[in-house]
Amino acid sequence: MDEKDDLLKDAYAAVEEAEDVQEVLNKIRAIFGLHHIVFHLGQTQVDTLDRPFVRTTYPDSWVSRYLLKGYVDVDPVAREGFLRLLPFDWHDLEIDESAMEMMADAAKHDIGDSGYSIPVIDRQARRSLFSVTSKLTGQDWKNFMEEQGPRLQEVAHRTHRRALHEIFGEVDPMPPLGPREIECLTWTARGKDYAVIADILGLSGHTVRGYLKSARFKLECATLPQAVAKAVSLKIITP
């Protein structure tokens, strides 16, 4: 992700500023021009919830239809989403006989023509599934996901943490920065770019980008300048 990534910046701000996860989804939907979003936090050992934590922008009519007909038992996304780790396109799912009725019904409720799900796993091995749908199809849809996929993956993780916060009132800190991440951030704070930092530290440019991307993600910032500012204010680095 580039330093000037306004879309990601807006998305991070939305996760931060929204009242609750429902509002996060509404905002993210608007920012990325998505048709709908479903967020589903998986059951975990520490989880004492009676009901599953699911938030969605789907119309109520579809949600009640889904529950009434027990579609959760045949829905391939729900069935496979928590077993997979790699993000997946709904077009790549196998639709068996039992899911046909659901698919036809879903089409009637206009839930979207394409879908993509992002499995989330955190350091405590807690899992969620963040799914988006769109009216785009074919190559347009492919191009859209190719461009937005990495951003939406970050958004999925941010939403996961936001949900944990909403349920438990607090959430464990992100992993601490490693020495290399701190070095790369420090040099960024001094105005050096990837190539220069790579030279200074004797690493490849890509490796420096990797460390900075990871550092930014751990600091929960959408852009590098924000990450640098946060690291300075937390006294993790001294510019």
Binding site: R79, L83, A125, G149, P150, L203, F217, K218
Partner: protein, 234 residues
Amino acid sequence: MFFIVQASDYGQHRKLLDRMFRLRKQVFHDELQWDVPVIGDIERDAYDDLSPAYLLWTDEAKRTLYGSLRLMPTTGPTLLNDVFRKTYPRNLDLCHPTIWEGTRMCIDAEEIALSMPEIEPQQAMCMLLLALGECALDHGIQTLISNYEPHMKRIYNRAGAPLTEVGKADGFGKRPVCCGLFEVNTKTINGMREKTGMSGLHVKDGAKRPIGMGDAAWMSSASAAHRATWAGAA
């Protein structure tokens, strides 16, 4: 063929996965003498309980296993973060949804020599690496972290994988184990394809293919190209 098996497909590929755990015991415990958990004739650790994705290399009928490796996202618990944190001061605790770690990469050299004598072990490792790169590209992974013994650097080089070594740890086995990063994008993977003269090894959603259909109907153009390469290598 090379394909990913995720937890949603474990059941359907139980035999291949069992074979993989036995192969891992043979390679990492018996041959390399790494300090890995072994029960009976299988090697399996705590990370295998977190439903990782496995990249498998099998024959077209998916009966014989030629090689395998394990893929996990760095946002979750990962072997290398945990191990290298303990043993290497410049730890590389990376964490990002597009950065994944690949571990337990191994081939069954004996089986390959039997079924595909034209492929020597180094070539086989190169193929597994290229398939890994292609699979990562297909799934939106932008950086791969992997561990390897020092001599494997030559193989990465031969496969054209742009590897940057970022750590080295003792205490795995007889030799130190290195940890390296490589970048995945169209450019780097095309570079690997050019260097190895192969492409289209990874079959997307290969796990969903019916087993035993063998040839014609399910032979993708990708695996056809793959065969041509083998013939070329022979």
